[in-house]
């Protein structure tokens, strides 16, 4: 089991001085993930908060080779880099035993929505890559527009709450399931508050031969509108209420990694965040009910898939 003391002694691949918001969850995720492999690492990063904030020209917070891709093609870019590595290995220009890891990164906008077809293509072709989606449920970088990861009832600038609407009317897309449907060797869902689970999953993903995908819950105090000091506690509520279940699918086999001792009502998750505040109006009670119903259904289905 990894010790934090040892991880702290490792070199930072993402250094200080980036412009991410006060209390942002992204650097927390990548502090853990980037330490899960000691091999050289190349990253392709789709447009999004992480990309914009870490590379404000002429500065960069990346200590390793890092390529910026447009919103739609981080997966294609990293697949291309991986292909070049395989080709150069075949030609003998990279030694046979030289291991390099390839990581594609996108937010939920760049993964659930805009980058989905590039990601689908890259994993279907079987490239030896890891793709990580940091899912903060919204296009936070461009000012808080709804994405297909935005949950039912959340207010976003393009699904605002008001007299006519209780916020987003649609259910969030289940991207993790879509990736499972590609029959790739490793798919998992993680959260930074369970850091050992996240670290292990990142390690597994890097060691997997072939494509691996991680969907990681990402805290966003700016768009979720909560007290930024409570971020990690809020992530705990997400997994305790099963809004964000932690599970992995290894070669088609499901495993739930965290079973809450007592499943909390989704209300606990909702009441802490300003984006859901309007759901407590009388006329929006049905949204709360529907939200709980959907979470219960998904959780039950996950149990069946994991044979629990």
């Amino acid at each position: 089991m990894a010790k934090l003391k040892d991880l702290a002694a490792m070199e930072d691949r993402l250094v200080a001085g980036h412009g991410m918001c006060i209390g942002c969850g992204i650097p927390i995720i990548f502090r853990i993930v980037l330490r899960a492999t000691e091999d050289p690492l190349i990253i392709a990063n789709a447009t999004g908060c992480l990309e914009v904030c870490t590379t404000i020209f002429p500065r960069t917070s990346w200590n390793i080779t890092w390529v910026h891709s447009a919103f739609e093609n981080a997966a294609a870019t990293i697949a291309g880099v991986e292909s070049m590595y395989q080709a150069l290995k075949k030609k003998g220009r990279i030694p046979e035993d030289k291991k390099i890891r390839f990581l594609g990164i996108g937010g939920d906008g760049g993964t659930y929505d805009i980058g989905l077809q590039a990601l689908s293509g890259a994993v279907e072709r079987g490239h030896d890559i890891v793709y990580i989606c940091y899912d903060n449920n919204v296009y936070a970088n461009t000012g808080g527009q709804r994405s297909s990861a935005t949950p039912l009832g959340a207010s976003a600038t393009t699904s605002p709450e008001g007299k006519e609407s209780p916020g987003k009317l649609q259910r969030r897309k289940d991207l993790t399931k879509i990736l499972v449907a590609h029959n790739i060797p490793y798919v998992a869902q993680a959260s930074p508050n369970r850091w050992q689970d996240l670290y292990k999953k990142a390690q597994k993903a890097f060691e997997t031969e072939g494509p691996a995908f991680l969907n990681i819950l990402c805290l966003c105090p700016t768009e979720w509108k909560y007290d930024e000091s409570q971020g990690i506690r809020l992530a705990q509520t997400a997994i305790d209420s099963c809004v964000w279940p932690l599970y992995e699918v290894e070669n088609g086999k499901y495993k739930i990694n965290y079973l809450p001792k007592e499943k909390k009502p989704v209300l606990e998750w909702i009441k802490a965040q300003g984006r859901f505040r309007h759901l407590f109006k009388e006329e929006n009670a049905w949204v709360l009910e529907e939200f709980q119903k959907q979470v219960d259904e998904d959780w039950e289905e996950l149990h069946k898939l994991a044979n629990l």
């Binding site: 934090l4 003391k5 991880l7 702290a8 002694a9 930072d12 250094v15 200080a16 001085g17 980036h18 412009g19 991410m20 918001c21 006060i22 209390g23 942002c24 969850g25 992204i26 650097p27 927390i28 502090r31 853990i32 870490t54 590379t55 404000i56 020209f57 002429p58 500065r59 960069t60 917070s61 990346w62 200590n63 390793i64 930074p192 850091w195 105090p221 930024e228 000091s229 409570q230 971020g231 990690i232 506690r233």
Partner: protein, 104 residues
């Protein structure tokens, strides 16, 4: 912050100076509150280091030694996550008014 001109910048927006963002002192945004480290209460769990969004926890050797105020933005996660009953990190009022923008 002194900006490089086109003569000094690499062509093609390629950045050869990896990790040079450490010159951006994000601590200059901090306002209102800041964490204070109380060494003898610290149990060296490293949770503050783990959960700090702006890499502002000072680690020397294998010990947490304090806060790097050059980068700390005062979010307060370190204080909330500090596990001992008597916390080793508490949030205190920021006394100085910090300058706007980055510093070199």
């Amino acid at each position: 912050m002194k900006k490089e001109t086109w003569k000094e910048l690499t062509i093609g927006t390629i950045n050869l100076d990896a990790g040079n963002s450490v010159k951006n002192l994000t601590g200059t945004w901090r306002s209102g509150k800041k964490p204070q480290f109380i060494q003898d209460k610290c149990i060296q769990c490293f949770f503050c280091w783990l959960y700090c969004p702006h890499s502002a926890i000072l680690v020397e050797g294998d010990e947490v030694k304090g806060i790097n105020y050059d980068y700390c933005t005062g979010c307060g996660i370190c204080s909330v996550e500090c596990p001992p009953k008597e916390k080793a990190i508490i949030m205190v009022k920021e006394e100085v008014k910090l300058a706007e923008g980055g510093a070199e």
